[in-house]
């Protein structure tokens, strides 16, 4: 355990800052929750089309991306432990691995989307119009929800990059690491959303 907070003259409220990120996480959960309900309702009304459309998604690439996100969640969580132990080097390595994994996730997403687009499936494509309402809804939701999730990954990468620089410059230290913890909380949210996106789009057919 570290000694009590070093600078008493500094205006800082770690608990308040953590509460803030949690409140933000709740708005995000309700946001994606609404989208999941939309998905469930449309699935309920277009069972057969959703079944056939979901079978076209690549389970392997989905599973690989799930594993990547789970590992990255662990590394950013471990980074908090490392900074608390005053181990700056390990902290930097763990944050670096998290960033790298996030990038690999996006590269996989790029290949996944490219393959779909090559097959003539993109929002508003002539093929989807031919296939009908169910397929249009499924792939519309697929592109919107995984795209929105990917946008969260990109925002997370920017946030984690800022944290990486601040750890390097000793702005984030063993007695001032709330930003690292908050960044971790946001990253776990991104992981949480994927935990539900993965079975709903890739697994359940």
């Amino acid at each position: 355990m570290s000694e009590s907070i070093a600078h008493h003259d500094e205006h800082r409220d770690d608990e308040g800052s953590k509460l803030g990120i949690w409140l933000f996480i709740f708005t995000e959960l309700l946001f994606f929750g609404g989208l999941f309900i939309t998905y469930a309702v449309y699935r309920h009304g277009n069972t057969q089309a959703f079944h056939l459309a979901a079978e076209q998604l690549d389970v392997t690439i989905g599973t690989i991306n799930t594993v990547i996100l789970l590992i990255s969640s662990m590394t950013i969580a471990m980074a908090t432990t490392a900074i608390q132990k005053k181990d700056k080097r390990t902290t930097l390595v763990l944050i670096g691995i998290t960033l790298l994994l996030a990038l690999v996730f996006l590269v996989n997403k790029y290949f996944e989307w490219s393959a779909k687009i090559d097959h003539g499936i993109w929002p508003g494509s002539p093929l989807l119009e031919e296939l009908g309402r169910g397929d249009t809804l499924f792939f519309g939701l697929y592109y919107f929800m995984t795209g929105l999730h990917a946008l969260h990954i990109i925002i997370g990468m920017v946030l984690i990059a800022v944290i990486l620089v601040r750890v390097r410059k000793d702005i984030i230290t063993s007695d001032n690491f709330q930003l690292l913890e908050n960044g971790g909380l946001y990253w776990h949210l991104v992981d949480l959303i994927w935990i539900f996106l993965f079975p709903l789009f890739y697994l359940i057919t």
Binding site: S2, S4, A40, V41, T66, M74, D191, L192, P199
Partner: protein, 94 residues
């Protein structure tokens, strides 16, 4: 106050949770690949919920943090459950 913020979670705990999450992922892939139709959906969602519970409790430190965070998370989950239930009452009985 600094007691809770200074709680250090060992690397081992995170490693074990990751292992558990990976096993659960493989189970959910396996279960849905063998086509148990309706049950596969329920099992996959139950596994996803279990995985989220571990992420929330350990990775997001709910287990070690102030009770207030746990109360808020449970409240949000209940709000979502209520909205989902109401939506399905609506669509289910049309």
């Amino acid at each position: 106050m600094s007691d809770t913020t200074q709680h250090i979670v060992p690397y081992r705990t995170y490693g074990l949770i990751l292992l558990l999450l990976l096993v659960l992922t493989m189970v959910s892939v396996a279960v849905t690949q063998i086509e148990l139709t309706r049950w596969a959906t329920i099992v996959a969602l139950l596994i996803a919920s279990t995985k989220s519970a571990f992420v929330l409790a350990i990775f997001m430190h709910l287990k070690f943090d102030h009770t207030i965070y746990r109360v808020m998370v449970i409240f949000i989950i209940l709000v979502m459950a209520a909205v989902i239930l109401l939506t399905f009452f609506d669509y289910g009985f049309r």
